[in-house]
């Protein structure tokens, strides 16, 4: 009998590969009794569906890109300067 950890793994796998007959049976048996695993399944399927429906998904990934911090910029400038000085 599969536990929930194994079941969620198979649920996730089923979105990316074909499950074996045995795996499908185990999954089905567990899901009959476990509402949380059923919910996990419907949520990750919904997640995929909603992601695929986004017209410009790249935006979603880029939206969180913070500007480079001043400190990072200064460190980069310094690294370049040092390397240039080293070689002169």
């Amino acid at each position: 009998m599969l536990n929930c950890k194994e079941t969620t793994k198979l649920i996730s796998d089923s979105l990316d590969r074909k499950l074996t007959f045995r795996e499908r049976m185990g999954l089905w048996l567990h899901m009959m009794m476990c509402s949380l695993c059923r919910r996990f399944r419907s949520n990750i399927i919904a997640l995929r569906r909603r992601l695929r429906a986004i017209i410009d998904p790249q935006k979603l990934v880029d939206a969180n890109t913070p500007a480079m911090s001043e400190a990072a910029r200064a460190r980069l400038e310094a690294a370049i300067k040092q390397r240039m000085d080293d070689s002169v």
Partner: protein, 234 residues
């Protein structure tokens, strides 16, 4: 190979030179970059006015774009800064041997892309070595692998019930919180819709590892979306 970084240049110059040492004397010059002739080579490059390659302006002119790309792939400010630095220094090192054919920007971006892939592979490798050590599994499942009592008591959320704007806002934040390798795999597969086989090749992971990472990314995202939604965050 489209981009010649320092090491590949060295290889190209070194190989024929070992056999034809004398005839190749001219070719050998760039090899000396790390040695005493460096001074001359780099001075020449840096002093030839007007210097369109002027590396002291790279950060101000290209830094932002490079950083944005690195961050979008690596999802981590420190890692992004690291690879941008590697790319800039790599560029500095190889500019004498293989100067850009066109503009410096795309040339630096080409170097950066390689550095990013290297970093992702490295991350994937180290993630592999401690695959069992992932806090998300422990926080969701008890020692027998069943959902923890606390998780069962959480207010359930149906993802379908979220409004689009709310969903997008929450999802953005949750994606940003994924560990680097999980993010690389999930974003590649579900957002860029890359072919899984290609994606595995790019990241240097097996399909078994790919499925493990997808499982964890999905568990994390589902839990993150639920808890942010429960906190009433928009």
């Amino acid at each position: 190979m489209d981009i010649l970084d320092g090491s590949s240049v060295e290889k190209i110059y070194n190989e024929p030179c070992q056999e034809f040492r004398i005839r190749c004397r001219e070719l050998e010059r760039p090899r000396a970059l790390s040695g005493s002739a460096t001074k001359k080579t780099n001075e020449e490059i840096l002093e030839s006015p007007p210097n369109k390659y002027d590396p002291s302006r790279w950060v101000s002119e290209h830094g932002e774009v490079l950083y944005a790309y690195a961050f979008s792939r690596l999802k981590n400010a420190d890692a992004a800064e690291d690879v941008v630095q590697e790319a800039l220094l790599g560029g500095l090192k190889s500019i004498g041997n293989s100067p850009p054919q066109g503009d410096v920007g795309p040339w630096l971006m080409g170097i950066l892309k390689k550095k990013v892939v290297d970093r992702q592979r490295q991350d994937a490798k180290s993630a592999k070595s401690n695959f069992e050590d992932d806090s998300i599994l422990e926080s969701l499942f008890d020692e027998n692998g069943y959902w923890r009592e606390a998780i069962k008591k959480n207010h359930p959320l149906s993802l379908d019930s979220l409004e689009q704007a709310e969903f997008m806002g929450i999802l953005e934040r949750c994606l940003a919180g994924l560990p680097a390798t999980q993010a690389a795999v999930f974003v590649g597969r579900e957002i860029r819709e890359q072919n899984p086989v290609e994606l595995c090749k790019e990241l240097g992971i097996s399909s078994t590892n790919f499925w493990v990472l997808m499982h964890r990314a999905r568990l994390r995202l589902a839990e993150c979306i639920r808890s942010r939604w429960a906190m009433g965050e928009k």
